[in-house]
Symmetry: D2
Subunit: 426 residues, 4 copies
């Protein structure tokens, strides 16, 4: 399906060679100031050729709001958005090699198997241009989340090939135990990330190694993958809709829907599976000493007197999510991207009908590593997930607030028990 | 939400201490033979205490079909299923420690933050008993998939703590490149997996090491995590609904919705991000030599003359999915499980209201490693995803089949091009 | 589909001859007191044989809550509910007439056409027993709506055959113009309705005529239809989700999903199509003089300071909905029920395969008019619609409330225009 | 919500004064020939000023396909469609009367109550321009339904004010019993309907009376409502998804979502509620003598050997739907439209804040009767409903077809019973 979300519903359209690409956002709260200027920056960050950007007024991939706002304010009605395609002519079906041979590990063949019709661009909708609608919709969600809660979403490159910003070590099988990682997660912002263009890895040394590695792959007409880490700060507690729409489940869904992704891990991730429970459990401590960032202190939630969580955790192996529900700590996760399928080297393949083997090679320049450009896409999808979860939880909380108060259900007096609790049923 | 799937919709209910747990399956095809005997085996595999099972007639977690079948045949109407809870009494809200202190890294605190009401079992619906409905619904889906396509779904333990069945090596950063792994994926069945109880890791040496490791953690009143690998064989090509419901995205969603999961990787996974594209791309080859397993040859699809894919791939880094769509090769993925939060050791925590710090420890026996019992749950969720994707693709294919034929859109004659294709727009 | 609603999601299961019928309610606000005693009264009102009810402790159709509550309070998790079927044995497929001949205008034939499998009860899921889950779910919604807003939902019989409570006249083509109707709509309650058992038409004379007419049809082994009018009072303004889920659209959907319904009209309805616009338009007047009923004054919304609408309408041809959105006035609508298909008279039909014509007649007692028993079902479906709309609007309102305030967008000073407005584009 | 349908999902956007209006169609079958020429005719029929149309090349409301097709063939990917708005400038918020006074029975006030933001066009999204996206999406669905099944959908005006094409009589309380009506329903086509412009009522005498009545209302600066009847011919049996998505329920939902609608009745409708069951039940007869129209005989379903129903009904009070499922007979229903709220007469109203009463009148020309222009909108919404139902049923049927055959479940031999069947449980 081309719709994402239950409350903040994004429906996208468009492939490489049609008139335009875009989306409809249904469910955006009314009364929010919104113009194209709120959306364009992420569109521009998504564009190819980031390393050469010299002006923010780049006219390419320019987004136009079609509906849903008036005088720069959202009406609560569907927001249509569109970006024109520059090359709208689909290639003619000539008797070309690419029409006969599917590109290895690309979507050409599976799209034909699925739809029974071959677009001139092969897997037309598998094109990275499809992500334009996502980024536009994500930018709107981000604005709301920032205004309402002071939420900040920042993604950055954590590996290219085998060059890692935080390589796993015996001491730190997961970066969750690495103080340098946790410190970065608590403070990194987009401006800093973009100061490390072209790879967007916020470390001078690692960044340089990654640039060298990518250059090497480019020279060999090959490609290489990598990973992106994303942090969501200042998220309210209570987000996520068990049992099927746990917050990590919808984040995983969102991330694996991005082209070329191969993996997702939340918090301690796969490394955390090797850490003893006695270490991995995050002890609760009082949140009374927590200093609120100004973005939170000035947010709508703060203005409206929404109470702050009274607990926080000493460590954060959980990655800000427990039982599928956010606990208020920074949510962080990692996404793996495979090496781009389109490479300049000759590759073995066979005709669509299997009758003949052959060789295929991409001509022209192509991107040896998609990771740096994936950053704003990861941020956008994270914003869509959190926006949807926020609206769901707001709905529940408001519904509950209109009910008569209950007798107290959680004790807070002196304990009389022995500090021992029963194992629950399974 | 408690509903999973668009076409084969599963809605579950129930927590630890209520009358029953169960689900409603809406969208099951009519006319399939179905009784409780088709469902009970996976229910039994899911139960605790697997290592002590001596009789298949174990009466615990017995499932009862409530509706949707008659004379052992599905009617196409919703199938209600129920498993009674043995201990239906919620614990009284006494002034006990557990009522005042949330368990670290458990769902106690986030459930209260989310719902504002505290169930006696803490995060009541985060209980593993919630998965009963999933396993029941998955067993029905599996039966359909087997009858209609000969699909086989098998999960097994691939690591406990740092004991790996296929440890990553410089030569094989991802098991996808390891012939022993690929051979296992092509042949493993559930009977073999269960012959390696209690850990369900199909290798004598690794299995023994895992047993020892778990025993060690049990003795120290600690817990440890691990990973499960699952393979889906004989899947038709064309499954998966881009752009948001790519097959790996819905698999990731399904897997991360299982309690205690921390990560998901499809095919080559995170390891594959370090492999050059020239290696990672899976060359297409003719499928004409592929030998059909008998389960496929005797399936409904074969009987009805559904054509087989004409291509297959020489390698399978893609894990059976390209562009978000299945390509007919085995789909395999890995899921990470964290160490269980409930441990016998004393742990630091604070009261719900943050006013006081304290110590909490679980009494009684508890499971030091949830991985072996997660096997049937992973299989069930995989079945739900594939079932939904199969119904969606069948619908599309049938809809298309009623349209007038088009002029040929894919050439199959001699190539006239130079084997070079343009890079597509991004 | 067997699921209704987006926010308050009800999934039902069960047919006549299975173990049980019931439903899962997902999305019920947490923290509401709820036991079976809140649900049973509507279940009992739905039961057949209303005229003979002598005790409220009737044990038939007894509902059991399976999950989602603890100590009589909702947890916010799915609420499973179940009513056991007394006769669980499906009839054996003998060579009986009913197995060969579909009943005219019943669901026997279309169910077989749709599912390709014939349940022993013919259109098994078309049985009125299917409505049990709806009524149970509706009772929970009603309780919330009453507590949170003081909403009252009352349905009553307005016609049986050609006996009308408010027959259309040249003066009053629609009852909307009839003061007696509007007065009734403003005040009728369930207790009054039930004092007019067995037909539930709150007028002594009309009621008696209806009883006589039904008796007449019963004696002739025939059946007759009728209409039910339902009013929803104290609804907040702003409910309904254009453009597709306008409030009247979801009400129409809900009502036409009830077995045996043939029509739906909102407000002035079909009669209103014959009234000039100059009459039909409802003039706005200040709501400052409106007296709040105590149920509203004591509701959660009042307690939380939710502002009351500042306008109301002098007349109510609109039936409480304008532009698909509630305006705070009483919502009223009418639902038409056809004569029951099952009658004792002999009827012409043909075998399922069309090979032979034949005669079919129902044996035993059957209901000559379903209208009186439909009353609680109409109320339940109305409650489901309003509940869903309330949660959607609460979500929007809360989301908006966290945004920074806008400059004023509606003027309220002295008019300077000439009282003339442009026709809008179409 | 702005999305309609589960399988063929239409999402619309746009209001009166934004850049464009349009929609995204997700789920259109791939491989269908489709260009703007398939869509434009219904767009043009929807436009205002039908009586003055002299050329089919009218350039207004011109639709542009944005995506989802290539070389005039659908790809199976989302189809974006757009119609530019000519007047994109929202009116400035001056201190005008219309900014202060809501129009009676228009959506101005309820939109402000709902969204808390006032669009310059009042109830911006309640504008009839919103229906453009529906009509475009409906035209695509219609094409598929015609090619695949020979389905024909035709709507026509059946009343304006109290001028009825088939006025109810004691003999014919519902037109369903009127042979002239049934004959019309069996044969009417769009060309004939449009030959009765401007009112689209296919009867010379009634048409003239309607024209006179509308002229009269126009002269008095007033408005009047009416009804539209729509027939869907050649529908396959088995459509409709009980229990909540019965075919009449989704049709009712669709129709009541059209602006200005007040009522819906299927088949015999409200009139049928006054007909005895013994008359109302439609006797089954063999369908072997039914002559297939050429559109059906040449359809994809016929080509693919889809079996035809073996039964039909002698009468059609049911309106082609029984138990919520189509039975293959013509589906017909009636929709009521209220008099347009915007009239030239002065009308009483009050300021938004209730502080002041006032008088409002629309300037300029306005439409005294919306019924004739509603015809293509009714047809479009009917097409969306049937398309969704067709895809759902195709999915089920195909899923079932891959299962092993069951033992026969319906007898077809000689009857041995006594022609008497038990009343089912309720």
């Amino acid at each position: 399906m081309s719709t994402f979300g239950q409350y903040y519903r994004v429906t996208t359209y468009g492939e490489s060679h049609c008139r335009s690409v875009g989306c409809i956002v249904d469910g955006c709260p009314p009364g929010m100031e919104l113009t194209e200027e709120d959306i364009q920056p992420q569109m521009t960050r998504r564009r190819p050729g980031q390393s050469n950007i010299t002006t923010p007024r780049n006219e390419k991939d320019k987004v136009f709001i079609q509906s849903g706002t008036e005088f720069g304010v959202t009406l609560g009605t569907p927001i249509g958005m569109m970006v024109l395609n520059e090359d709208q002519r689909p290639k003619d079906y000539g008797n070309l090699t690419m029409d006969r041979f599917p590109r290895p590990s690309h979507a050409d063949w599976t799209y034909l198997e699925k739809y029974g019709v071959k677009a001139s661009s092969g897997g037309g909708r598998s094109s990275a241009r499809e992500t334009i609608g996502r980024v536009a919709a994500g930018a709107i969600a981000e604005k709301y989340l920032r205004l309402a809660y002071g939420i900040e979403i920042v993604a950055f490159t954590t590996s290219v090939g085998n060059v890692h910003l935080f390589p796993p070590t015996p001491e730190h099988p997961s970066p969750s135990t690495n103080p340098a990682f946790l410190s970065l997660v608590n403070s990194i912002d987009r401006k800093t990330v973009d100061s490390y263009l072209p790879v967007r890895c916020p470390d001078t040394e690692a960044s340089q190694k990654m640039v060298d590695l990518i250059s090497d792959f480019r020279d060999r007409h090959d490609s290489i993958g990598g990973t992106v880490t994303c942090v969501i700060r200042n998220c309210p507690s209570g987000l996520g809709e068990p049992c099927f729409d746990k917050l990590e489940a919808t984040l995983a869904h969102a991330m694996l829907s991005i082209p070329a992704t191969k993996g997702f891990e939340i918090g301690s991730g796969f490394g955390g599976c090797e850490v003893p429970g006695s270490t991995h459990n995050d002890p609760f401590v009082s949140a009374s000493d927590v200093q609120l960032p100004s973005s939170v202190a000035e947010s709508g939630a703060a203005r409206s007197g929404t109470p702050r969580p009274r607990l926080t955790t000493k460590t954060n192996y959980s990655g800000g999510i427990q039982g599928g529900i956010s606990n208020g700590a920074p949510i962080y996760f990692r996404v793996g991207f495979k090496p781009a399928a389109t490479i300049g080297q000759e590759q073995q393949t066979a005709t669509y009908d299997g009758s003949e083997e052959g060789i295929l090679a991409a001509k022209g320049r192509h991107d040896p590593c998609v990771v740096p450009r994936a950053i704003p896409i990861v941020e956008a999808m994270a914003a869509l997930v959190i926006m949807d979860a926020v609206l769901a939880q707001q709905a529940r909380h408001t519904a509950k607030s209109l009910l008569p108060p209950l007798k107290q259900t959680v004790n807070s007096g002196k304990p009389t028990g022995n500090g021992v609790t029963e194992t629950e049923k399974v």
